[in-house]
């Protein structure tokens, strides 16, 4: 994995429907370096989730370019996009999305299920990832036996188990109380300190302020980016 950019967006727009068309994203451009920890902050309906889906190649932009680890996502087949997601992108969702009938360890290992990694290796890495999020002692538990904070830690372990180019987290503390949310923020900082590239979406300006870089969006447009203010990005 070479290159400085984990993620690049260039003039990304997303329009839903025909009449009237909904402009969820209007010309969004920014880039995230490897190893960055970035917050995307904006009020509800400002286009944050749409942005996350486009960055995660779950949805293609109407216009503009998305590059993940230097790879242009436009023009890729479903198979190639799936491969990109399996190996380069980790997702964390507000609702965790864990499989209730599988153990914590299996849930984490399934982060590599579609990456072509043999089972033994998947479980070995799952154990490592669980250790990183501090849940080794819960490996054989079911998600239903865990607290909300623990569940989100499992989901984060699943997102980082394949050491992706970038982790995209959509309101990861949205379903948690403030104390638990704070511990999740702490975990993101730790993972960042250990080299992970993380982009977190939130509507909470207070949470965003804890992160090194904030990109503010409103009505589908970037209104400010602390990196630009500091002159990090040309």
């Amino acid at each position: 994995m070479s290159g400085t950019w984990a993620l690049e967006l260039d003039g990304v727009t997303k329009v839903y429907g025909e009449q009237p068309p909904v402009h969820a994203l209007r010309g969004v451009s920014f880039a995230v370096r490897r190893g960055e920890l970035v917050a995307i902050v904006g009020p509800s309906g400002s286009g944050k989730s749409t942005l996350l889906h486009v960055m995660g190649t779950l949805e293609l932009p109407s216009e503009g370019v998305v590059r993940i680890g230097g790879v242009d996502a436009s023009g890729l087949s479903d198979r190639e996009l799936s491969r990109l997601r399996a190996r380069q992108i980790g997702f964390v969702f507000q609702q965790f999305f864990l499989a209730e009938h599988a153990s914590v360890r299996e849930n984490v290992a399934d982060g590599l299920l579609y990456a072509g990694v043999p089972a033994v290796e998947r479980y070995r890495r799952a154990d490592e990832a669980l250790e990183r999020v501090g849940l080794s002692h819960r490996a054989s538990f079911r998600p239903t036996q865990l607290s909300g904070g623990e569940r989100q830690r499992v989901a984060i372990a699943r997102a980082v188990v394949g050491t992706p180019a970038i982790v995209l987290a959509d309101e990861p503390t949205g379903n948690l109380d403030s104390t638990t949310g704070a511990s999740i923020m702490e975990l993101l900082h730790e993972l960042h300190a250990n080299g992970a590239t993380i982009l977190m979406i939130t509507h909470d300006a207070g949470l965003a302020d804890q992160l090194p870089r904030q990109i503010r969006v409103l009505d589908g447009q970037v209104v400010s980016d602390t990196a630009c203010d500091r002159g990090d990005v040309a």
């Binding site: 889906h53 779950l58 799936s82 990109l84 997601r85 997702f91 609702q95 990456a115």
Partner: protein, 407 residues
């Protein structure tokens, strides 16, 4: 990355395909039940017909397929032909004839329970003169009393076939047991067991040839001399494997002057045909089994459609984890096939158990045709594939963002 091929191995594939079943066991059980009932019915119907057929064939083989029957047929003018008196003696000299017995139908004589029964009420019974080795040649056992011997063959003594005894209301042999035969009383010496190969014997009262001659006037005149006979049926046991050779010679041997007035048959043929008919499965139950299968298929399709709707977030998550459309389609298709297959396997086992139980109780060999169980499994696989196809395609076409947004 370690591997470049991102296809799932069969273990992972199976685990992923069984996620739905493991999460909702009761639902999976109920939807597989329809298919289980259908396959069970089909396997049981086919298994039972095969087993009953096998049972009949075993029975026929036990009776022996080497019995041939020679009977008087139609004469050239359309009347009832007769067999020559010497026919049995001539047939005895044929190669590969092991033994023979014969009976002569005494048409004029009727048999009644007592002299008071109206003459028209014959009950469909006939009177036959018989050679003394009849039971040995036909392999018919005695149910009661004793068979005729050289002494009783000269006396007004009769032995009843199984059906004749039943129609006359005689189920035991008492010393004074008599029947009204011809125009006088005959003692009843014994009752025969059923004769599956020669059912004519069952509905007959059998008397010795000498008794038939003396008391019933059943005789032939040869150059003015009285002889008992002629026989109307000759039962020939051949050496096994020579049935056809002997059969081809019988008519000409029995009646060289008019071979076409002689009917030759192999009684086991009739039974074999009946066995084949028993082997023809019950199409009503087979039809019901098919209906159950179709209903089962609709049930599986229904469950799969619901499952796809309910598991949107799982589908979205898998897409986010890197599953291709094809992998999602395969997952749901495999789940449907697995569900149907479980039903099919359970159904085959249940159908086989039902067949085994019934065949056991009847003393038949247990025979479940390969086509029955392999067909049951194949039908289940096909149903699973058909029922799962549409839901699987739907699942694969669901945009991941839509799948993730709902919840």
């Amino acid at each position: 990355m370690i591997a470049t091929d991102s296809r799932l191995g069969w273990r992972d594939g199976l685990r992923v395909a069984s996620v739905g079943m493991r999460a909702r066991r009761l639902r999976a059980t109920l939807s597989a039940l329809g298919i289980a009932i259908g396959t069970a019915a089909i396997v049981a119907v086919l298994g039972l017909s095969s087993s009953s057929q096998a049972g009949l064939i075993a029975e026929i083989n036990q009776l022996g397929t080497n019995l041939l029957t020679v009977e008087a047929g139609q004469s050239f003018t359309g009347g009832q032909a007769k067999l020559p008196l010497q026919a049995p003696a001539r047939i005895t000299h044929l190669d590969h004839v092991e033994e023979l017995a014969h009976t002569g139908l005494v048409k004029e004589a009727k048999v009644y329970r007592s002299a008071l029964v109206p003459p028209a009420s014959t009950g469909g019974l006939s009177v036959r003169a018989t050679s003394l080795n009849l039971t040995a040649v036909l392999g018919v056992g005695l149910a009661r009393g004793s068979w005729l011997n050289a002494g009783t063959a000269r006396e007004p003594v009769a032995v009843l076939g199984a059906v004749a005894a039943q129609r006359l209301g005689i189920d035991r042999i008492r010393p004074d047991q008599r029947i009204w035969l011809g125009h006088q009383w005959f003692d009843v010496a014994g009752i025969l067991e059923a004769s599956p190969l020669e059912t004519d014997i069952d509905s007959s009262a059998l008397v010795g040839y000498p008794a038939a001659q003396q008391y019933l006037g059943y005789l032939s005149l040869v150059h003015g001399a009285k002889e008992s006979g002629p026989p109307s049926s000759i039962y020939v046991r051949t050496a096994t494997g020579h049935e056809a050779a002997v059969q081809s010679l019988l008519a000409a041997t029995a009646n060289p002057e008019a071979p076409n007035e002689v009917n030759v048959s192999q009684p086991s043929d009739v039974l074999t045909a009946r066995a084949a008919a028993a082997g023809a499965f019950d199409s009503l139950f087979l039809g019901l089994g098919l209906v159950a299968l179709v209903v089962g298929a609709v049930g599986v399709a229904n469950i799969m459609i619901i499952s796809v709707l309910e598991r949107r977030s799982e589908i979205g998550l898998r897409r986010a984890l890197g599953a291709t459309k094809g992998q999602i389609r395969t997952q749901f298709l495999a789940e449907s096939i697995l569900l149907a297959l479980v039903g099919g396997v359970v159904g085959v086992l249940a159908g086989a158990a039902a067949t085994a139980g019934y065949a056991e109780s009847k003393g038949w060999a247990i025979l479940i045709p390969v086509e029955a169980w392999s067909g049951g499994i194949a039908a289940a696989l096909l149903i699973g594939a058909l029922a799962g196809l549409m839901p699987a395609v739907r699942a694969s076409r669901m945009p991941p963002t839509v799948a993730l947004r709902t919840v």
